[in-house]
């Protein structure tokens, strides 16, 4: 696809979008993904569809892991050539527009999609593959509740019989979203399994309201008590350090990113890339090159401290962060600004007990909500007023930082916008 094939209006819109994004970056206002896309779409409301036409696109959506999985998938598909991607986490249609406008003529794109926008982006981009990672509680003062979101995804897929779906067999909500698509035709869905640590949003079958039953002997298996929904057999699975493909071949993934959850994200990426014709053996080494994702997992040295940044936005991702963090001094930072959601109730859905015995510091706009939570959880802590105060309060060595979205961005800014 070249710019010349775009309708004149779309071509102008794409050009304005790129210029605005560049200006935004140059003036230090941000990475420019949102403003660029917004201006472009004002000039041509169908700009995303125009820019997507003729490309082979993968969409990645879910509550958690979508930024990292998008990055892994772009790296894996990158075996074929340049890949357009919204690597700054700008995951709404403005961000997709901006990413494609910036990307030039490459025929490949991997786009992270906010779960609320999946139907809209499916319509605009007619992707080759959609990866559905997981659904759990997140920003409930604003977001659609979990079962409702699963239904929206299911409805969206019904309008796109041709799209291939790569979906998480361990999450009953995701299985419900993809099950009708799978039943409508052979080979429409590829299932993967990466384990599911957070299960509190999947006690009840989204199809019929009966209990989801789990097998004591095989902790991954689950089925609805009435049989409406059962765990599909996954084609792609993981162990501690490898992805196992549908032929049973084990692909060691030497990731720089920590945690078993990222081995699962790697499996998803390899499964999606496989649909683009990339063999897992070729793609796996590419995943090892990813060192950090929009600041997440980044390590920064300051004043003799090695500071590692972990983003945790909701109960499911806090559990994963505790799994990744080493038993070292840990700073927790909580805000409740617009992008975080204004409701901090979820703090009581997280069990902070794994932090007992570590030096724990807390900060952020809503540190007092966290203070009460930790006190009730019998986790000793110290409140600090700033990031600098936290760095000064810990001995030389590793400082693990776990923060929710805007708190994470604040600390990233302190560290000069580490990527």
């Amino acid at each position: 696809m070249t710019e010349k094939k775009l309708p004149l209006r779309a071509s102008l819109a794409a050009s304005v979008s790129r210029t605005a994004a560049a200006l935004s970056r140059a003036t230090g206002r941000g990475d420019g993904s949102v403003i660029g896309g917004r201006l472009g779409m004002m000039i041509d409301p169908d700009l995303l569809a125009h820019l997507a036409a003729g490309r082979r696109i993968a969409l990645v959506s879910g509550t958690n892991g979508k930024t990292t999985t998008t990055r892994f998938t772009a790296a894996a598909v990158g075996v074929l050539g340049d890949v357009a991607t919204n690597s700054f986490g700008a995951n709404m249609p403005t961000g997709h527009t901006s990413a494609l406008a910036r990307a030039g003529t490459t025929p490949y794109a991997v786009l992270e999609v906010d779960e609320h926008y999946l139907a809209q982006v499916l319509r605009a981009t007619t992707p080759l593959v959609v990866a559905l990672l997981n659904l759990s509680r997140d920003q409930l003062d604003r977001a659609k509740e979990v079962a409702m979101m699963a239904q929206l995804w299911r409805d969206a897929l019904a309008d796109h019989p041709g799209v291939h779906v790569v979906a998480n067999a361990d999450d009953p909500m995701v299985v419900y979203a993809a099950a009708a698509h799978a039943a409508a035709g052979e080979g429409r869905v590829t299932w993967f399994s990466a384990g599911q640590r957070w299960r509190e949003d999947a006690h009840v079958c989204p199809a019929c309201g009966a209990h989801i039953e789990r097998d004591e002997t095989d902790e991954d298996s689950w089925r609805c008590a009435t049989g409406d929904l059962t765990r599909p057999a996954p084609q792609w699975t993981v162990d501690e350090s490898a992805v196992i493909d549908p032929e049973g071949v084990r692909h060691e993934v030497k990731l720089q990113l920590p945690g078993k959850v990222n081995v699962g994200n790697a499996a998803t990426a390899l499964a999606v890339a496989h649909r683009f014709g990339v063999s897992p053996a070729d793609a796996a080494p590419k995943l090892a090159e990813v060192a950090s994702v929009a600041g997440r997992y980044a390590q920064v040295d300051r004043d003799g401290r090695n500071i590692r940044l972990l983003l945790a936005k909701n109960p499911a991702s806090w559990l994963e962060a505790f799994d990744m963090a080493e038993e070292q001094p840990t700073l927790l930072s909580i805000n409740a600004r617009d992008p975080d959601g204004f409701d901090t109730s979820w703090l009581f859905d997280v069990d902070f007990a794994p932090l007992r015995g570590r030096q724990v510091l807390i900060t952020g706009d809503r540190a007092f909500d966290l203070a009460v939570r930790l006190q009730v959880n019998d986790v000793a802590f110290t409140h600090v007023k700033s990031f600098d105060e936290a760095v000064a309060a810990v001995p030389p060595g590793r400082l693990e930082v776990i923060a929710n979205y805007t708190a994470f961005q604040d600390i990233r800014a302190e560290l000069d916008r580490v990527v």
């Binding site: 079962a147 309201g209 209990h211 203070a371």
Partner: protein
């Protein structure tokens, strides 16, 4: 039967959306601080309701709310508990289902009839900070919380409002929550007791029959309250 205080969380498999576990954890923690032996029990919706001193019901979506009401109606355990003056603390969807009727998925559903009130759908969704002056008869400082619900609740003569609204919507923009005997319902959702430790202590006093409890170090609760009431322009 154990001599420890029994704190029963009703149907976390159905009604646990907004950190509802917090109320159970806070009550157990504050009992422990006072040397009161306490046990927590989580009862699933396919289990019979056990004996309890304090029962907690949380918030949830329409489908699970309607299902929880049906199961509790069939179980009758909560009705018997209220008859023997056990303590009940219910939030949001759990509060609505204690009334005579409520709306879920567009249909009117029978409530448990344990509080004289009924709920319907409001013109807007109430989302945000909620604060109000608690009924002076309860002797508690101002209520502070976060609400997120589409319902409006209309109180009958047998219950009293828990609070008069200063910020937010609550029942109808004028009153918030309801209480009668040792049963309290509120739209302050999720871990409502984290911002209202005195309310937690009231539930413990009712359950134990103690007139007063030993003072607890509420430094962090107090800072949290000041910050949230300050954000609502109320201090």
């Amino acid at each position: 039967m154990s001599s420890a205080l029994q704190i029963v969380w009703i149907y976390p498999d159905l009604l646990s959306t907004y950190g509802d576990r917090g109320n159970m954890l806070i009550l157990a923690h504050r009992a422990k601080l006072r040397g009161i032996p306490a046990e927590t029990v989580e009862v699933r919706s396919d289990q019979a309701l056990p004996y309890g001193d304090i029962y907690l019901i949380g918030g949830g979506e329409d489908g699970p709310q309607a299902l929880a009401a049906q199961r509790l109606q069939a179980d009758r355990g909560l009705h018997r508990a209220v008859d023997r003056r056990a303590v009940v603390f219910a939030v949001c969807a759990g509060y609505q289902l204690l009334g005579n009727s409520f709306f879920a998925k567009g249909a009117k559903c029978d409530g448990l009839g344990l509080l004289d009130l009924h709920s319907d759908r409001g013109p807007t969704r109430a989302v945000g900070e909620l604060a109000g002056d608690i009924d002076p008869a309860l002797g508690l400082p101002m209520l502070t919380g976060f609400e997120n619900h589409g319902g409006r609740t209309h109180l009958g003569p047998e219950v009293k409002p828990l609070a008069k609204v200063r910020t937010g919507i609550g029942n109808d923009g004028a009153t918030e929550g309801a209480w009668s005997g040792t049963v309290i319902g509120t739209y302050s959702h999720g871990p409502a007791l984290s911002r209202n430790p005195a309310l937690a202590d009231l539930l413990l006093r009712w359950a134990t029959g103690e007139e007063t409890l030993a003072a607890a170090d509420d430094t962090w609760h107090t800072r949290l309250r000041s910050e949230r009431l300050g954000a609502a322009g109320l201090v």
